[in-house]
């Protein structure tokens, strides 16, 4: 009898073993791309976590040194592929700042509108996938419908749904088609109603609140220490929004609110994203009202890609076009760091140029990199399903993380 009791106690000792390692990823059902989280668990509580990245490292920064400035626009789509327009525009803004070119007014308003549309699509994916990971599939189906409508509009501008490459240095690849503005008006009228529907499903939902309140908490000091930006920083209570603090284009002239959270948990991040989608719809409405007619290309000989009709008929224009695409544009020596408020945080392009058609160093400061670093800290003490919920809320885009 004594021997059995002793044996049982020894077996139970195996249960309380805090050194079990569980590996989430790199291929995991949470559809977030290729990341890996090694957790040291005790029962189901995560005591320690380490993240490993690099499973999607494609050498985009080294390609920036090999390709010309125009050729690299294609690679910017693949950084944060959920909001490709934002990356394109931020990159073209960076090169234009380096060359000290100010684009036309119409181009600025169009770019603002498209950046906000990209923000809406990115937040749709984040909220939808977050809900899907926690079992709320209906939200996924409902929100994806709106993403498809946004895709159709984006396709009407540049021909591609996801990887758009819509902006060029000095302008846009195509101007807005005629049916874009009516469609967009309809979109921003009806989208907030869909958001009401989603909020009705999730915000007051007992299960959602239980699963997301107090989960993945990142305090204010930790968020600043980890250099977190974007909705996650605002959820932790820090009032930073680059559109309002250091405005670019006409963000000074549009009215919008910035949502700040208090707890820094998954629930706050979800609420902030919903609110940001509403505010983006508001910004788009104001952009459409203020959109001026006019040229979308700046008439600067260094960057202006000529119109196709002229290319096919005039000799000098054809040579100009040829030199653009065979040799590249000539960017003067210098460097600049341009950052925009992307959907995920501060997306920055640090371009060092030694003159010539190719960059000397093309650095992408991606928000997901810092977010994932804080992730391994914020899931300590939570359980494994909480880690999945927190991963969805932090919105790691692997393309941006690993570049």
């Amino acid at each position: 009898m004594g021997k059995d009791v002793a044996a049982n106690l020894q077996n139970l000792g195996d249960f309380y073993n805090p050194n079990v390692l569980i590996n989430l990823g790199p291929s995991h059902p949470a559809m977030h791309g290729t990341l890996r989280v090694m957790c040291r668990v005790n029962g189901e509580t995560i005591e320690d976590a380490t993240c490993e990245i690099g499973y999607l490292h494609r050498g985009i920064e080294k390609l920036g040194e090999e390709k010309t400035y125009h050729q690299w626009i294609v690679y910017t789509d693949r950084l944060n592929y959920c909001s490709a327009l934002n990356n394109n525009i931020a990159y073209c803004m960076a090169v234009e700042n380096l060359m000290q070119i100010a684009v036309t007014e119409r181009c600025m308003w169009v770019r603002m509108m498209l950046m906000e549309l990209a923000r809406i699509t990115d937040h749709i994916i984040c909220v939808a996938i977050n809900a899907l990971d926690m079992g709320a599939m209906t939200v996924f189906w409902l929100l994806y419908q709106w993403r498809e409508e946004a895709y159709t509009m984006i396709e009407s501008i540049c021909g591609m749904r996801l990887t758009t490459s819509a902006s060029r240095i000095g302008g846009m690849s195509h101007d807005l088609p005629d049916d874009f503005i009516p469609r967009m008006k309809k979109y921003v009228e009806e989208f907030p109603k869909a958001l009401e529907e989603i909020e009705g499903l999730l915000t007051g939902n007992r299960i959602w609140i239980d699963r997301t309140r107090g989960v993945g908490v990142l305090s204010r000091e930790e968020a600043l220490r980890f250099s977190v930006t974007g909705p996650c920083l605002r959820a932790s209570g820090v009032d930073v929004d680059l559109r309002r603090d250091r405005p670019y284009y006409f963000y000074n002239d549009v009215k919008f609110d910035v949502a700040i959270g208090s707890n820094g948990d998954v629930y706050d991040r979800y609420l902030i994203r919903i609110e940001e989608m509403r505010q983006s719809a508001r910004i788009i409405k104001q952009c459409m009202d203020k959109l001026p007619n006019g040229p979308i290309w700046v008439e600067d000989r260094r960057v202006r890609i000529p119109e196709k009709a002229d290319v096919y008929s005039k000799m000098e224009v054809m040579i100009h076009h040829f030199k653009f695409f065979m040799e590249g544009i000539d960017v003067p020596k210098g460097e600049a760091y341009t950052c925009v408020e992307g959907p995920n945080g501060e997306l920055g392009f640090y371009i060092v140029s030694r003159g010539g058609p190719k960059a000397w160093r093309m650095r992408v400061k991606s928000p997901s990199f810092m977010l994932f670093q804080s992730f391994e800290h914020c899931i300590k003490g939570d359980k494994i399903p909480d880690a999945v919920a927190a991963l969805g809320s932090v919105n790691i885009i692997a393309g941006e993380l690993d570049r």
């Binding site: 790199p26 559809m31 490292h57 994806y144």
Partner: protein, 200 residues
């Protein structure tokens, strides 16, 4: 079929029935790494419903799936992971290489990207596009269904040999330049010379 619909007899070869069952209930294992993964999610969602073709049950466990959709860039760090997943799947299994990156490396011809997953596994259907639109992926599933039916030629499963794997991960191929017709040649140093210089 009797008049009241109670009896239900289909005379057919067992093989045909098995083929019909297999092609109409392909359970995909989505291996989405990057942008193509988002388009795959769009295909699986309600507008371009993939479950119309039987591929509704998306199983994230390779042991329960029979079709592997590799959507996105596969890097050299991810290669062994993908191969392990492929090995864990049970026969019969099919592989769809979705997008340019998994078919041939795509726009990323760099130091860390596999130039196509056929460097490490046999592929049945390649879907071009960057990313392919959802109709493209659906077209590839229909194509796969025709392959399973036997209407189209199935690509023979050429298992990569040891030499292939050693050459695949290392771009320094020992090629004989005079045999190559194209002007874009990668030399032993791994760096392509200018296309207009003479080849020695």
């Amino acid at each position: 079929m009797s008049k009241d619909g109670s009896a239900f007899v289909f005379p057919a070869l067992l093989q045909e029935v098995v083929k019909w069952a297999r092609k109409s209930s392909l359970w995909p294992m989505p291996f989405g790494t990057s942008c193509c993964g988002i388009e795959m999610m769009s295909t699986l969602s309600s507008t371009y419903d993939l479950s119309r073709f039987g591929a509704e049950v998306v199983r994230f466990s390779p042991r329960q799936a029979d079709m592997l959709i590799v959507a996105g860039t596969i890097t050299t760090k991810m290669g062994p992971v993908l191969r392990t997943i492929y090995d864990q799947m049970l026969e019969p299994k099919w592989v769809i290489a979705m997008g340019a990156c998994s078919s041939s490396g795509g726009i990323f011809d760099t130091y860390s990207v596999l130039q196509g997953i056929d460097e490490i596994m046999p592929v049945d259907v390649y879907v071009p596009g960057c990313p392919p639109i959802p109709e493209g992926l659906i077209h590839s599933i229909i194509h796969l269904q025709k392959i399973i039916d036997g209407d189209m030629q199935r690509r023979p499963a050429e298992k990569p040999t040891h030499e292939d794997a050693m050459n695949a991960m290392n771009y320094r191929k020992n090629v004989d330049i005079s045999e190559i017709q194209s002007s874009y040649v990668v030399t032993k140093d791994g760096v392509a010379p200018n296309a207009f210089t003479k080849r020695s």
